[in-house]
Point group: C2
Chain length 226, copies 2
């Protein structure tokens, strides 16, 4: 094979890379970034989940995590912050939105997938699949995905092209939704979104791409020590 | 159902959460974190990949990305940094290790999966599966996984428990390895690791867990503008 042929074949690589980037919305104008974030810790000092704390507030550790998240969101220049109606998500959004001067917008569709535990009628239900198989969700995965998808797209359209926004949600709901976007039909996504972890979703028109999953870099330099 | 029964059933949630955290090595002592990082951009200003630049250096954009990565690695307190022998990985590690005062350690097993393009013998080979289906890798995925797994475990053992280390590698090799750890037997991981993206792998004894995938939060506040 002659040298010109070889150079030509190799240059095909750059074309392939450009197509790959376009496919994943890398360097594409007019993309909206939705940072899908799990709430901070609400369980560190909880002994039980009885009627008085079925919807517990953040623990001191969770408030620390939300503060670190807030610095990251400010540095990244988010333009709005959303949360489910659940207390730990609302508190995370309030704390994390403060450095950016943002008030929390609420979308109940970001709520956690329903489990046995908050349900008064515990009889006769079949547990659904779950991240890691430990939490028995009773809300069908396709219903969780449908409401999360509607919420994320509403949030993206409301923000507009070129914007970066945060949406505070919950481990089960985030896991089900990411597995759907990643087309993991055959099983769960074997990543547990940590407290205040950031997963970045890129949206343009009717296209939606997962850029990253579950990062907690904002906690690495200043872990909570109690 | 009486109130004590209900409270008891709900408290099962906290036990399940504790098992889930243990399963994913959350809050477990003696874990080694390997931050698996893609090299910075090396293609932004490249017209072709001929014999003179089959192993191209970082572009100005790539050097900027590596500098931002370096601040993140310093803030996170990494204790060592490793890279493949490939120039773009070596340069990324040199730049990103400098703020931490680290010299680069080299492990050739972190190299990119082999493609047609760097191969002089282009005839008669069948492309392997690829991230997004755009890049025809010719090195079998199981061979890529085996050498990456050996490299990551060597790096973790060398670092020791409780340490955090960085390993600079390549998009194809990272994608194949993450798909293996996530047990995605049925298809690729539909995430393209961005330039200098960080994926965190937790290792303890013979257990290994993916904590996060493909984050570029260190670029969000200061994107390269040329």
């Amino acid at each position: 094979m002659s040298q010109p042929d070889l150079a030509q074949r190799r240059s095909v690589f750059l074309d392939a890379l450009a197509r790959l980037h376009e496919r994943f919305l890398v360097g594409v104008d007019g993309v909206t970034e939705v940072w899908l974030v799990r709430h901070g810790d609400a369980y560190a000092e909880l002994v039980s989940l009885d009627d008085s704390n079925i919807d517990p507030p953040l623990s001191p550790k969770g408030r620390h995590e939300a503060e670190r998240l807030g610095l990251r969101l400010r540095d990244a220049g988010i333009s709005s912050i959303w949360a489910s109606t659940i207390v730990r998500a609302q508190e995370t959004a309030e704390i994390a939105g403060a450095p950016s001067g943002l008030t929390v917008q609420t979308d109940d569709r970001l709520r956690e997938a329903k489990t046995h535990w908050e349900d008064l009628d515990l009889d006769g239900e079949t547990p659904g699949k779950a991240p890691g198989g430990y939490i028995p969700f009773v809300e069908p995965a396709d219903e969780v995905v449908a409401r999360m998808d509607a919420a994320i797209k509403t949030i993206a359209v409301t923000a507009g092209p070129g914007r970066r926004v945060a949406a505070i949600s919950h481990a089960g709901a985030i896991s089900f939704y990411l597995a759907h976007l990643l087309q993991l039909d055959s099983g769960p996504l074997r990543v547990l979104p940590q407290f205040t972890s950031v997963s970045v979703i890129l949206i343009k028109d009717d296209r939606i791409v997962v850029q990253s999953i579950g990062d907690v870099g904002h906690l690495a330099g200043d872990p909570y020590t109690g």
